[in-house]
Symmetry: C2
Subunit: 206 residues, 2 copies
């Protein structure tokens, strides 16, 4: 397909696609003439992935390139590539100090308690610690045990979702899992915010 058709298929303006090409976020099409190229489904999928990482995931260009490199490097196992993508989706931040040490210890205990196979240096541990530190600094005596009851259902849901990834097609699996991770988080956050606005109306707005 031509650039204009890629634009329609991916739901993105031509100018945005050209920006992705310039930044190396999208692989070049097959040249058919000077200044002309054709694109295929791999470009459509990749453009959607980049858009999700940029707009929903709030990732920086450097982080996006790490995710794409892991997706494309066949020598990295799929599980390891998921790990790279997961880590890229966690903001870099100074996590030193006593409050973080406590929070990270709580995260470790939570992971062990639920027998989760999560890398010792996985970025997501720091992300959960971020939330704990923020809540505690806001005055809540927040304990991860409050999530114990719910966690088995969260794990079952994740196992089901990962089980539904297509059995082959590494690029497709990576793209589906990354978009699924981010979009699902935005959706559940939005549902909670709908409920909070409703709750605020009930208490303060009537």
């Amino acid at each position: 397909m031509r650039m204009s058709e890629l634009s329609t298929a991916a739901g993105l303006p031509v100018a945005t696609l050209k920006y992705y090409l310039r930044e190396g976020l999208l692989h070049p099409g097959a040249a058919t003439a000077v200044n002309q190229a054709v694109y295929d489904d791999t470009h459509v999928r990749r453009a959607r992935l980049v858009r999700a990482l940029l707009e929903l995931g709030n990732l920086q260009l450097g982080e996006i390139k790490k995710v794409l490199a892991a997706a494309d490097d066949e020598s990295v196992s799929l599980h390891d590539a998921f790990g790279v993508a997961q880590d890229a989706m966690v903001p870099a931040r100074d996590r030193s100090g006593a409050a973080y040490a406590d929070a990270l210890a709580d995260v470790d205990a939570f992971v062990q308690r639920h027998r989760l196979h999560v890398r010792a240096d996985a970025g997501v541990r720091g992300m959960l610690a971020d939330a704990l530190v923020a809540m505690r600094s806001g005055g809540w005596q927040f304990d991860l045990a409050e999530f114990d009851e719910r966690m088995p259902a969260v794990v079952a849901q994740a196992v089901s979702e990962v089980g539904q990834l297509p059995p082959d097609g590494r690029a497709g699996q990576m793209e589906a899992s990354v978009i699924g991770t981010i979009a699902y988080e935005v959706a559940t956050s939005a549902l909670r915010r709908l409920a909070l606005e409703h709750a605020s109306w009930r208490r303060f707005g009537r």
Copy 2:
């Protein structure tokens, strides 16, 4: 307290606090001498709020100022101030086009179905539409009905949380609700990512 004590109490470096003061994100302390001022608990709470909005919420300075202005303006009802804060937490984006029109109609139907009191122009509607558009462009035939069963529990949880906000102290209520909203979202996203890494290990990593 002095600046150094504020730094300890808020868990933020002095340089960061000075940056907040310069940008008007933190109100000036009471001057005690040239180049010296004292701070109080309102500064501690405000500094934590700004940090949560910046670091966990990924908000731009302009959006943070809108949230703070709504928190401080006593002529705005608390419910309306919550609405301003909610809207500031949704990224601005072009939500025109057929895919968005479909998604926004689905959101409207969901809000009506669950009898939620949510403003017709609330930004969170666009946020939920963002997730739907991303999932559908990724090839999922995603339907909000999948959340119907869970939504009453989400609403009950939100009503309970808003009910636990302290009965007076407008600034404290705003700060607690904004930090609570953002930190809780980061926490639940992180729990899901822990589960996804575990699920990836089960399917691809063993």
